[in-house]
């Protein structure tokens, strides 16, 4: 199975390489994957983009932490208050149907150009998925588990910390995994639209100047990092599901 998977992925890359080398895909559109790798290595070794990488990484981490902590707290509060939850439910379900970063221009007006609007847009993009998964996780705590906690005289915040949250961990991890993806999208999209530095800014600058090596090098860097983080979290998620006997 794993072998077949490697075969499929490697095959796709080799096909792309051949198409590029034969000129069926021209160099203005895409450089061969092998050259992307070389370009990626050179721009990391050269250190030219260290500042931008640090800038973007900082923003993503800040946005992610805000989204996860905020989403966890709000999700917990909404779970505890079914009425409030019923009121805001339609908003939550329609949230991702709306391209949130149409608000980015407004944020620039409010916060100026810099870190702040990028972090805020990344956080508001990621927070709702965390809210939804926190509520789902708490919903799925079996009633018998809750009753047992009551029999042990665990109530209020202690029941929440010792029973509800641990039982909800697999769902929380799913939320965290998606919050990573959404924070990255928010921050990088913001940098594309308007920013003074950051990886998104460098990619769009390279695109405007037909500098395909830099552009594809940075693109590859972004994709590799995101895919690795995602794969790591997926593995953790699967392990938790298996250990907890969830499907």
């Amino acid at each position: 199975m794993t072998r077949a998977r490697i075969f499929v992925v490697a095959g796709a890359f080799i096909l792309l390489e051949i198409l590029c080398r034969l000129g069926i895909i021209d160099r203005v559109t895409m450089i061969p994957p092998s050259e992307m790798l070389v370009a990626l290595w050179q721009l990391i070794a050269g250190g030219r983009f260290d500042g931008d990488i640090a800038f973007t990484a900082y923003n993503i981490v800040a946005a992610f932490v805000l989204a996860v902590v905020g989403g966890f707290v709000i999700g917990g509060l909404l779970h505890a208050s079914p009425r409030l939850r019923h009121v805001v439910e339609p908003l939550l379900s329609a949230y991702y149907a709306v391209p949130t970063f149409v608000f980015y221009p407004l944020l620039i007006v409010a916060f100026g150009v810099g870190r702040a609007p990028l972090i805020v847009i990344g956080a508001i993009f990621g927070i709702v998925v965390m809210i939804v998964h926190t509520m789902q996780g708490l919903d799925h705590v079996p009633p018998a588990v809750n009753k047992s906690a009551a029999m042990m005289k665990l109530g209020g915040i202690r029941r929440y910390v010792l029973v509800m949250v641990p039982a909800a961990t697999p769902h929380l991890v799913s939320g965290i995994k998606l919050a990573v993806a959404y924070s990255v999208i928010g921050v990088v999209a913001g940098e594309f639209i308007l920013a003074t530095q950051g990886i998104g800014k460098r990619i769009s600058f390279a695109y405007d100047n037909f500098d395909n090596r830099t552009m594809y090098g940075l693109l590859l860097l972004l994709l590799i990092v995101v895919t690795c983080v995602n794969a790591g979290l997926s593995t953790w998620e699967k392990r938790l599901h298996r250990r907890f006997g969830l499907r």
Binding site: P142, A144, S148, M151, K153, A167, T169, F244, G245
Partner: protein
């Protein structure tokens, strides 16, 4: 007998659930009067939906009666779970994020028992329930019967004076049920607690209990009591005893009419009664 022996006294206990969306008020239980002695193994059988679980919730302190009085060792059951009561439910309530050892130690840790004492009591409980070699396994790796053993061990380790069992073996197959019944009798003798068992299974009630109460269809009232007079040192082999069939037959005799009623369709009982 001391004051804290695990006695239960119910006087005129009823439970009415308030009207909610789409349905009127539901009279779920009672009135119920009963005295359960300390150390007694007491079972309740009754048709589905007769209020057995509601009765158990009231005795557990999870829910309060609408009218009447419920006392545990002379103190009124009101506002919360009293000290010294443990419960095992039909649905799997093992804490699936903890391994078996941590599951069993959970309640002791909450009470602030010191570490050496926790280790001693948990390892005793595990060996008593035959779980020692699974101490580091997670519930998901165990069968349904083993998980229920974990839940019993988790309660057993706290040495309750009153053990409440709500269909604890309902999801298990017949042979496992018999084996678990033996384990339960050993636990009962070991901790000397009062046990109140709610079950669908007449055989289970007849085999395990000192006394079996039969409940009517909703709102549930006690309509019959059967005293078994088994020796305290009994085990599942008593199902071969000649008196066993007599006890289950008496239980079914009291219960049949009520079961037909609870199946719901008016006239259903009459229809079945007609000879073909």
């Amino acid at each position: 007998m001391s004051a804290n022996s695990g006695k239960i006294a119910l006087r005129g206990v009823t439970k009415v659930f308030a009207a909610g969306n789409g349905h009127g008020a539901v009279e779920a239980l009672g009135p119920v009067d009963i005295d359960i002695a300390g150390g007694e193994f007491f079972s309740v059988v009754g048709p589905s939906g007769c209020g057995k679980s509601t009765l158990l919730d009231i005795i557990a302190g999870l829910s309060s009666p609408t009218t009447g009085e419920a006392d545990f060792d002379g103190k009124p059951l009101a506002g919360g779970v009293p000290e010294g009561v443990g419960a095992v439910f039909q649905q799997d309530a093992s804490f699936f994020w903890l391994n078996v050892w941590d599951n069993v130690a959970f309640g002791l840790r909450r009470k602030g028992v010191d570490a050496a004492e926790i280790r001693r009591r948990v390892s005793y409980a595990l060996s008593f329930m035959g779980l020692t070699e699974f101490a580091s396994a997670y519930p998901a790796q165990l069968s349904g019967g083993m998980r229920q053993r974990v839940c019993i061990a988790r309660t057993f380790v706290l040495k309750p004076r009153l053990l409440l069992l709500d269909e604890p073996f309902g999801a298990l197959d017949q042979q496992t049920r018999l084996v678990m019944g033996d384990e339960l009798l050993r636990v009962w003798r070991e901790i000397g607690a009062t046990v109140i068992l709610i079950t669908h299974s007449l055989e289970e009630a007849a085999m395990l209990s000192d006394r079996v109460a039969v409940m009517s269809a909703r709102p549930g009232r006690f309509i019959d009591f059967v005293v078994t007079r088994w020796p305290r040192s009994r085990d599942s082999r008593i199902i071969a005893d000649e008196r066993f069939g007599g006890i289950t037959a008496r239980l079914w005799g009291s219960l049949r009419e009520e079961s037909l009623k609870s199946l719901g369709n008016i006239g259903g009982a009459a229809m079945l009664d007609e000879p073909r």
